[in-house]
């Protein structure tokens, strides 16, 4: 504290602390706490807020766990997001390794620029593209019917696997770059030494490249899982009533059910799921928060 004042002087230090507090407290922590507070209160008409009925309760949470429909959606959202994460990792790892170690710097740079462009394109548009492809009269159905493989269009939209597919497409690049960034720092000599010692290629990955990539894998997985579990665009564009996502349930609590307290409880649960996932990944990959949030 004294060091701060000595370094920047009183007024500047005061300003720095002020804006940081406004941000951390006013924009982040207090709203989060308010949301949590909401989640433990009953939904009451305006007149009764602050009245005798306005007491802390777990009813918003017990409601979810007593409602098979919502509970299924909650579980399915978590499970599918894990699937998205695994699939994205499987697709990405070879690419990330290829970019970092398998090719010349020049070509890697070219490919990376090519990756950046779709990476920057809005998630909604990327999902919309798949909607057109998978629609009843979309590219795939037209092609299959033309070829005579099917004579009735297949209904892709509204199915959970379609959403998983769409999410893998939408979030795959959030897995590539973190892994690429750490693999890029892998010493080439290590790989060559292992090869020289007779290690087969899978062994090189298992014993050298993958352990080195751990922080990047953790970041990629956390990002992808969080994006998938918190996605609203993909399930609304590619999904239907049969494939509802937990975010859609939350949204409807706020803007259709007008039950903000229950919505807040659901949102808090979603947050807890993500925090749990982050903690698990950090434990699993033995990385610190500092490395994750880099």
């Amino acid at each position: 504290m004294q060091a701060l004042v000595a370094r920047y002087g009183g007024p500047i230090t005061a300003l720095m602390i002020f804006t940081s507090l406004v941000w951390v407290l006013g924009l982040l922590l207090l709203p989060q706490l308010t949301m949590i507070d909401y989640s433990f209160r009953p939904a009451l008409p305006l007149a009764e807020i602050g009245g005798p009925k306005d007491v802390y309760t777990l009813e918003n949470y017990t409601f979810l766990f007593g409602n098979a429909g919502f509970l299924t959606i909650f579980a399915k959202t978590i499970w599918s997001s894990i699937l998205v994460t695994i699939a994205a990792f499987a697709i990405c790892y070879p690419l990330a390794y290829y970019l970092a170690r398998g090719t010349s710097i020049g070509r890697a740079r070219l490919l990376i620029v090519a990756l950046i462009i779709p990476y920057w394109i809005n998630e909604i548009l990327r999902t919309f593209a798949w909607m057109l492809i998978l629609a009843r009269g979309g590219l795939i159905n037209m092609a299959l019917m033309e070829l005579g493989v099917i004579d009735q269009p297949i209904v892709f939209l509204g199915q959970t696997p379609t959403i998983v597919l769409g999410m893998v497409y939408a979030y795959v690049l959030f897995m590539v770059f973190p892994i690429y960034n750490v693999l890029d720092t892998l010493d080439k000599a290590q790989v060559e030494a292992a090869r020289d010692l007779g290690a087969p290629w899978w062994c090189i990955h298992w014993r050298i490249a993958l352990p080195h990539a751990k922080p990047g894998i953790a970041v990629g997985c956390i990002s992808t899982f969080m994006l998938a579990a918190g996605s609203y665009a993909v399930p609304t564009i590619l999904g239907g009533p049969q494939s509802r996502w937990f975010t859609e349930v939350i949204y409807s609590q706020f803007f259709e059910g007008m039950n903000w307290n229950r919505g807040a409880a659901f949102a808090f649960l979603l947050l807890l799921v993500c925090v749990t996932f982050i903690v698990i990944m950090m434990r699993l990959f033995r990385v610190s928060l500092g490395e994750v949030a880099k």
Partner: protein, 286 residues
């Protein structure tokens, strides 16, 4: 088993994989874009019914589109105005905090980018209801700033790691006041990063969907409008809008990358700077 031939097989495997990956990445976008020029009443490229620009025409007369664009610019400007100074101040503060405090403060400050965007939108909405403030462009600014300031903070922090602390000391030693050190030494040093942070902040804001969804009230932003169009208003005008979006993003991406590359000339390998809708974006460690 011949070693050479197994290498050849591996190589062709890799090539196949690369081709498949990039096709997977680009073909859907191309397919969607092509539909914008098809005369078909529905957004589709097959069957092709002839080239047209009428869907772009339709956009010009879409007043909702233009008003939502206005809202996006307004929100974006607000987010830039808030998150760049907040991020700057937070980075300067972290720069001097003791290690233990710094780790904690850093963890809190980056936590918004590890949270689902909907949570930030919801908590902002709920919090401001306590002050009788409903959804609207101003809440969108606040909710987005919560996490976009984290990105700005991280960018400034990366830059500050390259700050030579003796510059500040030399200035003080030559009689500069703390304010003068800030104005003559720190801010000129951080200025390029501030520009980069402003660009990133604006793009993040412009593209944001999840957080804005809960707080926009009736001030629909372009992304919200686009999402609505995609879900309901099915004419190829959506594709025309998509094409414009894509072109703008590509232009912005290329421009920004080029600028960033020019700035970091000695750095050999490109590390993608990230701004996109999903917010777990790995920001470039400069």
């Amino acid at each position: 088993m011949n070693r050479l031939s197994s290498r050849v097989i591996l190589r062709s495997f890799i090539l196949l994989y690369l081709v498949a990956f990039f096709a997977y990445l680009f073909l859907p976008l191309l397919y969607m874009s092509a539909a914008a020029f098809n005369q078909s009443r529905f957004p589709a490229t097959v069957p092709w019914q002839g080239f047209t620009l009428e869907w772009f025409d339709a956009l010009l007369n879409d007043s909702m589109l233009w008003s939502s664009l206005g809202n996006s610019l307004l929100v974006g400007a607000g987010v830039v105005a808030l998150s760049v100074p907040i991020g700057l101040n937070a980075a300067l503060l972290l720069h001097l905090l003791q290690k233990r405090v710094r780790t904690l403060a850093y963890g809190v400050m980056v936590s918004p980018i590890l949270m689902p965007g909907v949570i930030l939108g919801i908590s902002t909405l709920v919090f401001w209801r306590g002050f009788d403030v409903g959804g609207g462009w101003h809440l969108a600014v606040l909710a987005q700033t919560t996490f976009i300031a984290s990105y700005c903070m991280m960018m400034f922090q990366a830059r500050l790691q390259r700050l030579d602390p003796t510059w500040e000391e030399a200035a003080l030693d030559l009689g500069a006041s703390h304010f003068q050190v800030m104005r003559r030494i720190m801010l000129p040093f951080l200025a390029p990063t501030a520009i980069g942070a402003a660009v990133i902040a604006f793009l993040q804001s412009f593209e944001n969907y999840n957080t804005t969804l809960f707080v926009y009230g009736s001030d629909r932003t372009l992304t919200i409008y686009l999402a609505g169009k995609v879900r309901v208003g099915l004419t190829p005008a959506v594709n025309a809008l998509s094409v414009i979006f894509i072109l703008l993003t590509v232009a912005a991406a290329v421009l920004f990358e080029w600028r960033r590359r020019a700035e970091a000339r000695p750095a050999a390998r490109p590390v993608p700077a990230k701004a996109s809708l999903g917010r777990a974006a790995p920001v470039p460690a400069e």
